[in-house]
């Protein structure tokens, strides 16, 4: 093995057996994009049915399968793996490591994902149909009243949970052990910091989700009664366990997005990030708070008033560290030499829309008001502002930002800008009206609705088709870049970008940092 600079193996085995963090990162990114398209197709079915009141296209049962699978595929198949892919590509390059700490486990954690999702998607073709109980799979809908395919759903959750746990263990082991000499914790780029904290959240709560689905499995097949009142159990217990996982889960989705934006905004402001240390502490505080606020998803479940008040105040507290972050991003742009390339546009889009989603979250945190908002389209609008305009916009920004570094080719800037504006407008047309229909009382997860909601729903559907179509433009732009984009060879593709990943050649060679780099006493990005 004298040839240290050997390239990748040829053919399909390169991808099957690879232990290279860049190959695995690429596979994660393409897989998550495929899932994004699949989950998007489910969303198009939902919006097509809701285009007009009345039942037009699909049966109500199938509609419920669509809402369920849309949520599951987007959360577990699109958003989470896309950020793991980004982590694989970037964390070793950002901390000056040659690869991830456990490369073989890395291969395994990716390759169990496609079978897991194949199993989940195959439920669509089973007798009784796919799971139709919503992505939150509340018992007893998901136990007593579930279709037989629920067992496949449970096993799919086990598989992708294992994948996430292995992926996050790998990230923690890498960041803790593989940093280049001189790369102390408080010099880590913020993307690495947010992922380190996210990985700890994943290790702590994915097993809780696995526990919840295991209890479902036992209730369905082995005669236990964890969630069945007849046997002394309690369906409300399911909700507590689910949201004990589910609330940290939403920060698992958004914290890496915070990290991405904290890399991009300084680059296009040509200034170091404002308040680096406060960003780190804010991220850690958000992660801690995420464990003690879960029942704000369950205000209407019949908690004692003291419980409602506690969860209300604890939830509102999260606005403080989040506010610190938004303040810091804006302060980074203040008096910066701004330029508005596509990654920056998506990052600013993130900043504006995520803040709107944060404010509606604050409205939802108010327990007495939540009784009106609960399970309405207002909630749907809220979490799409933070999930889509938060996580997906920042992921898109990340792809445009690092794609030239990965491929050595520049994407088409005009097409990128068109993609941004079409997405931005399409997104807002889709989800802004949902606030109004929600406040007016339209419940979520319904295939039909009262006539007074017709106009806003039609707007929403048109926006969704526009937003969906804009993703095809994105796919075209990325493929065209890889195949025939204009070549770039500057190490620093963006003049304002700082960090170790911009010191390696462009395109990034198959192996980087086999000799650890020298880390400055004060890196330019702090």
């Amino acid at each position: 093995m004298g040839a240290h600079h050997h390239g990748p193996a040829k053919g399909i085995t390169r991808w099957l057996f690879t232990t290279n963090h860049k190959d695995i990162g690429t596979m994660y990114l393409w897989f998550s994009f495929a899932m994004f398209i699949l989950g998007g197709a489910f969303a198009m079915v939902i919006r097509a049915e809701l285009f007009q009141p009345g039942m037009q296209l699909v049966e109500p049962g199938f509609f419920n399968q669509m809402t369920t699978l849309h949520g599951l595929v987007m959360v577990f198949g699109a958003i989470m793996p896309s950020f793991v892919g980004l982590a694989n590509w970037l964390i070793p390059m950002m901390i000056g490591a040659p690869d991830m700490a456990l490369p073989r486990m890395n291969n395994w954690s990716f390759w169990i994902l496609p079978p897991g999702f194949l199993m989940l998607a195959s439920t669509l073709f089973m007798e009784g149909g796919a799971p139709a109980f919503g992505w939150t799979f509340y018992a007893p809908l998901s136990t007593t009243y579930a279709p037989p395919s629920v067992t496949f759903f449970i096993f799919a959750i086990h598989v992708l949970g294992m994948s996430s746990i292995m992926g996050s263990i790998n990230i923690i082991a890498t960041v803790m052990n593989m940093r280049a000499p001189g790369m102390s914790y408080m010099k880590l780029p913020l993307f690495v910091w947010t992922w380190l904290i996210t990985a700890f959240l994943l290790v702590a709560v994915m097993p809780v989700l696995a526990g919840a689905v295991t209890m479902m499995l036992m209730d369905i097949h082995f005669g236990t009664s964890f969630f069945s009142a007849a046997g002394g159990g309690d369906p409300v217990l399911f909700q507590h366990i689910f949201w004990f996982f589910g609330h940290p889960e939403v920060y698992i989705i958004i914290l890496p997005a915070f990290g991405v934006v904290s890399q991009i905004i300084p680059a296009f402001s040509r200034k170091p990030l404002f308040g680096y240390a406060s960003m780190v502490y804010a991220t850690a505080s958000i992660a801690f708070l995420s464990f003690i606020v879960w029942a704000h998803h369950m205000y209407t479940v019949g908690m004692p008033v003291a419980g409602e008040l506690y969860f209300m105040y604890a939830t509102m507290l999260i606005a403080v560290p989040t506010g610190v972050k938004v303040f810091n991003w804006i302060s980074t742009m203040w008096r910066g030499a701004l330029s508005f390339e596509t990654p920056m546009l998506f990052a600013i889009g993130f900043l504006v829309l995520f803040t709107i989603g944060g404010f509606t979250g604050l409205m939802l945190s108010i327990a007495p008001a939540d009784f009106q908002y609960h399970d309405t389209y207002f909630v749907v609008a809220h979490f799409h502002y933070v999930m889509v305009a938060g996580a997906v916009f920042s992921m898109t920004a990340a792809v445009y930002f690092w794609l030239p570094k990965w491929t050595g080719r520049m994407y088409n800037e005009t097409m990128g800008k068109v993609h941004f504006w079409v997405s931005f407008v399409g997104f807002n047309i889709t989800f802004f009206p949902q606030h109004f229909v929600g406040l007016a009382g339209m419940p979520r997860r319904v295939p039909d609705y009262a006539l007074q909601f017709a106009d806003f729903n039609m707007m929403s559907s048109i926006g969704a088709f526009v937003y969906g179509a804009s993703q095809i433009l994105f796919l075209y732009n990325v493929v065209a870049t890889i195949v025939a984009g204009a070549k770039v060879s500057d190490e620093k593709v963006w003049d304002g970008a700082e960090g170790l990943e911009w010191t390696v050649p462009t395109p990034a060679p198959y192996h980087t940092f086999e000799v650890p780099p020298k880390v400055d006493a004060a890196p330019a990005y702090i």
């Binding site: 700490a101 456990l102 486990m105 007593t144 746990i165 996050s168 263990i169 790998n170 923690i172 082991a173 890498t174 803790m176 052990n177 593989m178 290790v203 702590a204 709560v205 994915m206 097993p207 809780v208 696995a210 526990g211 919840a212 209890m215 005669g223 009664s225 964890f226 009142a229 007849a230 046997g231 002394g232 309690d234 409300v236 217990l237 507590h240 366990i241 004990f244 019949g302 908690m303 004692p304």
Partner: protein, 186 residues
């Protein structure tokens, strides 16, 4: 520092795997029992005690009269006839009151039922004591048979002053299958 492997990366990974396993176990051995204890202690969900209450001799508070309403519901798929003999009674706190619930099995097969109680408002759950209840045990019934099931309760003298009405709801579950499984397993 305690190490599980000489390779530092593998050491971190093994320790984190232990954390993941511990969190999985946490759901079963901590969250479930803790939830049940919290519900019992705080009376959340209107859960009343599952065991008989031993009445303490105390004066009947005749200055107050509380309305106790009874609701009987069949759980989904349960075919029994199930209703209280009286819809509501007016009681003084501290006095022991007897009421009857009627249950009939209209099918031709022997069945076993379990009634699950719930008290509204849930704050009253801790002050509603059952000294004798059919809900403490399963109720077997032969086909076409019926039974009058007894309930004796005491409303605690400490019931908050603002509570005038207590609603006791029973949901009847069909546990024939689970019971026969358990009997078969013996």
């Amino acid at each position: 520092m305690f190490r599980l492997s000489r390779n530092p990366g593998a050491d971190t990974a093994l320790k984190l795997s232990l954390v993941a396993c511990a969190m999985f176990a946490f759901v079963f051995v901590v969250m479930v029992p803790l939830y049940n204890v919290m519900c019992d202690v705080l009376g959340i969900n209107g859960k009343t005690s599952g065991t008989a209450y031993t009445a303490v001799p105390a004066a009947v508070d005749t200055s107050r009269e509380i309305t106790v309403q009874f609701i009987a519901t069949n759980n989904d798929g349960m075919s029994w006839v199930f209703h209280p003999e009286v819809r509501e009674v007016r009681v003084h706190p501290g006095e022991a009151v007897d009421v009857l619930f009627h249950a009939g099995n209209p099918t031709s097969a022997a069945m076993v039922a379990q009634a699950i109680p719930s008290v509204t408002p849930s704050r009253a759950a801790g002050y509603f004591h059952k000294t004798e209840c059919f809900c403490f045990d399963q109720q077997p019934l032969e086909g076409m048979a019926s039974v009058e099931m007894p309930l004796q309760f005491v409303v605690d003298q400490g019931l908050p002053q603002d509570i005038q009405t207590i609603t006791l709801s029973y949901t009847l579950f069909d546990v024939t299958e689970t019971m026969s499984d358990k009997i078969a397993a013996r």
